[in-house]
Symmetry: C2
Subunit: 368 residues, 2 copies
């Protein structure tokens, strides 16, 4: 193998794939990335057995070949090299890396030992603009369960039905749902669950690609593939039945407030400083005459109250939520205003975006 | 106490003092800062018993008083508040903090319980421009010992003699010395040792003040005070005798190279990636015909060589150093070129700045 490649391109490729690499694990080759020539280009691959990723990078391929080398060392080296062009040349299992006045040798492991990343490009189920997929993941991903106690809750539920795709997550304390419309839509009805951590990694990677990239999505029995701009991103699916969550979405609420997002975010963050010792419980009071109060409640260290002017429909209302759950949603929402609907102390609260009618976020109340 | 203060000023003051606050420790009041009105201004104080710091902030003082409150909570609150002005009002031991639509209450501890920061403004020993003191600290501070095995080595040795002040540090593997001239100089001969961590904190704080501030330095038997721009920074001194280091400064060297600093820094950083498993040993070879080679040496993972064009006087030379020690010095030096002098494999190497004739850095060789 002999390749001449722009440092900028190699560096971008390594940045895209290298967070997938296993950092702990028994199989040494999993902490390596695979470098492989393919049709006059270079394919960089990484896998942690949960996710596999291939990313194609343009290069001048003088001689074909393949090798795996330690991801971290190689990324740090490439990012540190000052030159513009890098030459990679394989001799046995040693990769020679030359750039200007630098000459490095890194010992690799044969490409044969690298796990195969499966090819599943037969059953395309839909395609979608990269920016839309990224936003949908960001709006629901954070609400999945952080641990695997109930594996399905650590995933993003995805229901494909005609031209509508519904993404939903819940950790049983809150629920996020986002519906997206696909343009080329005639997908047959499918329900799957994808690990949320994996999708959040995909969202990060889509942020590195061009905003208007088109993502093609393929499905096999146990895996899903996202393909875009030289990227193949394959994740395992989670088996099991996602809870029927639609029943907990309130049909109406007693009190509906239209709230400036940044003001609410700031007030809840400040109240959270004082609520740490108190399970992060934050009291929200909506007054029909036009304001909302965020109250940390009393604690050993002190307390905080903030008052925000808002538009209200319905009656006065009051309820306590975990402040973190409000912050998570407001951090993900990009609109300037949100609607906050509550129905007394014992019922879930609902946050919705205003322009985008296809997003809903439900928070269970805390009982004090 | 009732104070109206600009958020920006309070925030800056808290940023300056709050890194001194004890984060672990048995005495609860040490994790607090003291807020005290003084002559129509507000004095913010923090101490960890090693260092004490007072910083004066302008404010509208409507009623005098003093209280200590938790540093971390108060800093986070002030930094998060969106308003421009903050009102602080004391009622019993509770501080009320009001800003626009926010109202917080923080429980404090009586100011009487806060340790007294001693007043030692009688014996001024010299004054110096803030930017010069900061640079001198940065050029020597990193070479002090990181632990207290030999307490004097964890300090910066300071010798004041007439108009010359010498700062020196050594962890016994390397040595840094910087001489500064003071303008108003007639200080009597004094030798002291100041904890290096403390001085590095002072350097960070001086970076927050105006570049052309003048720092006045006062001395008592066991403490030193740096005063500048509303800041009083008091540190304990380290007792003991600093080693007589001048004898290890080589009088001449066999090989002297003039090296572009950024190129050498980059080459040593890259070699260090490969030298991790090998005690970070980096081989430097200087060739009289005009180049310098940086070599990581071989290791299990691979190796790296870089070649830099340089001006040389003297003969060929070769020596191994701990790469970290070279990186530390080059990171602190702001000139574009440095001189690197070596005398074979068994003698110390010397790095000097070129324009500034008053800095010298010695590194002991590694024997491979």
């Amino acid at each position: 193998m002999k390749i001449i490649i722009l440092k900028e391109n190699l560096s971008k490729g390594l940045n895209i794939i290298s967070r997938i690499v296993s950092t702990r694990g028994s199989l040494e080759v999993l902490s390596n990335i695979l470098i492989k020539t393919e049709k006059g280009r270079v394919c960089l691959s990484a896998t942690n057995l949960e996710v596999g990723i291939n990313y194609m990078v343009g290069a001048k391929v003088e001689e074909g070949g393949a090798i795996t080398i330690p991801a971290r060392l190689f990324s740090e080296l490439v990012n540190s090299l000052p030159g513009e062009k890098i030459t990679l040349e394989l001799e046995g299992d040693t990769l020679h890396i030359k750039s200007d006045n630098y000459q490095s040798n890194i010992k690799g492991i044969s490409a044969d030992e690298f796990p195969l990343i499966p090819e599943i490009k037969t059953n395309q189920i839909f395609e979608i603009k990269s920016s839309e997929l990224k936003e949908a993941i960001n709006l629901v991903g954070f609400a999945a369960a952080a641990d695997d106690t109930r594996p399905v809750l650590a995933g993003v539920y995805m229901k494909i039905d005609g031209s509508k795709i519904t993404l939903a997550t819940t950790d049983s304390y809150r629920l996020a749902e986002k519906v997206i419309n696909i343009s080329n839509g005639k997908a047959k009805k499918t329900e799957i669950i994808i690990p949320a951590k994996t999708l959040m990694e995909l969202s990060r990677i889509l942020g590195e690609l061009a905003e208007d990239s088109l993502v093609k999505v393929y499905l096999s029995d146990s895996q899903i593939l996202f393909e875009a701009d030289g990227l193949d991103f394959i994740s395992r699916l989670i088996e099991g039945q996602f809870p029927n969550y639609t029943q907990i979405i309130p049909e109406s609420s007693d009190t509906v407030a239209r709230v400036p997002k940044d003001e609410l975010l700031s007030a809840v963050k400040i109240a959270s400083l004082f609520a740490r010792e108190n399970a992060n419980s934050i009291k929200i009071s909506v007054k029909a005459k036009g304001f909302l109060e965020v109250d940390s409640g009393g604690s050993q260290i002190g307390d905080n109250k903030a008052k925000i002017k808002i538009d209200v429909s319905g009656k006065d209302g009051e309820v306590s939520f975990n402040g973190k759950y409000i912050i998570d949603a407001l951090n993900a929402i990009r609109e300037n205003e949100v609607s906050l609907a509550i129905s007394g102390k014992l019922n879930p609260g609902v946050i919705k975006t205003i322009k985008d009618k296809n997003y809903i976020y439900i928070i269970m109340p805390l009982r004090n």
